[in-house]
Symmetry: C2
Subunit: 155 residues, 2 copies
């Protein structure tokens, strides 16, 4: 149900939340999160337009979260790149139907609402809580260990 774009955007932003102390190079994020570099570059542009990340070019630049991880939810990231489509009016566009949803579309929309509520109350910080049984996101440890923040971003 979640698109590849959403999956990649979430991997990148959780990576940025974990490494929030300094800007991260696009190439290093791509390597650590296993996201193709060209695809990641486009996604980061979308995240910048959605005010989720801040891209700074040049020496000492890189990608950072635009807000603290406890102020960004998983839903914020999803909606910045591939918004959850709620059903606001009848998809059949019948004139006779009026503004109310039929039972089928009401129940499908209820499912969308429950996802919005669940992801909208999950901050990036919560994913990183030490009390969680698992890490926030899997990363390629060797790549992350050698990651240097102070190289101009590419792409």
């Amino acid at each position: 149900m979640f698109s590849q774009t959403v999956e990649y955007a979430l991997r990148a932003t959780v990576h940025l939340a974990i490494h929030a102390e300094s800007p991260q190079r696009t190439a290093a994020i791509a390597e650590s999160t296993k996201v193709p570099l060209a695809y990641l570059s486009k996604i980061l542009q979308g995240l910048q337009r959605g005010q989720i990340v801040h891209l700074q070019r040049g020496i000492g630049g890189g990608v950072k979260l635009a807000l603290s991880p406890d102020r960004l939810t998983v839903l914020d990231v999803v909606n910045a790149v591939d918004p959850i489509k709620r059903i606001k009016s009848c998809p059949l566009n019948l004139m006779s139907h009026g503004p109310n949803l039929c039972e089928l579309h009401r129940r499908l929309d209820d499912s969308m609402l429950s996802i919005e509520e669940s992801l909208g109350t999950t901050t990036l910080s919560e994913l990183m809580k030490k009390s969680n049984p698992s890490p926030a996101i899997c990363e390629d440890a060797e790549v992350t260990k050698n990651d240097s923040a102070f190289v101009p971003i590419r792409g």
Copy 2:
């Protein structure tokens, strides 16, 4: 989050549940549910493979649900044409990661599970309950009124 294929498959099956008394012509379903005929024909083939509908060609033929509407859930229809993709193992395929999901993927999978549970307990019959505030699905009333079941299906 639900694909166009899922939307169309659900419209068609709810239409068949409402008109369960006799086989329905593909062209009539397409007209009443506003689904393009060629697209609907392909979807009906998928629904037949998934044992959701039964297609009978020739005089007196048409499309019928393969089971009673109280034995078919919305999830059955979704999974026959575009299955909900649960996250069973780490999408990053890291060797070091082992079989457990990270927090991010566990929470995304929880969302998928809640949709499965919600749609898996909603039968087509429930959508048609007279106590519901709205009809099961909107249909083009004029088209449905003139619908004749005893014409060979097309497509």
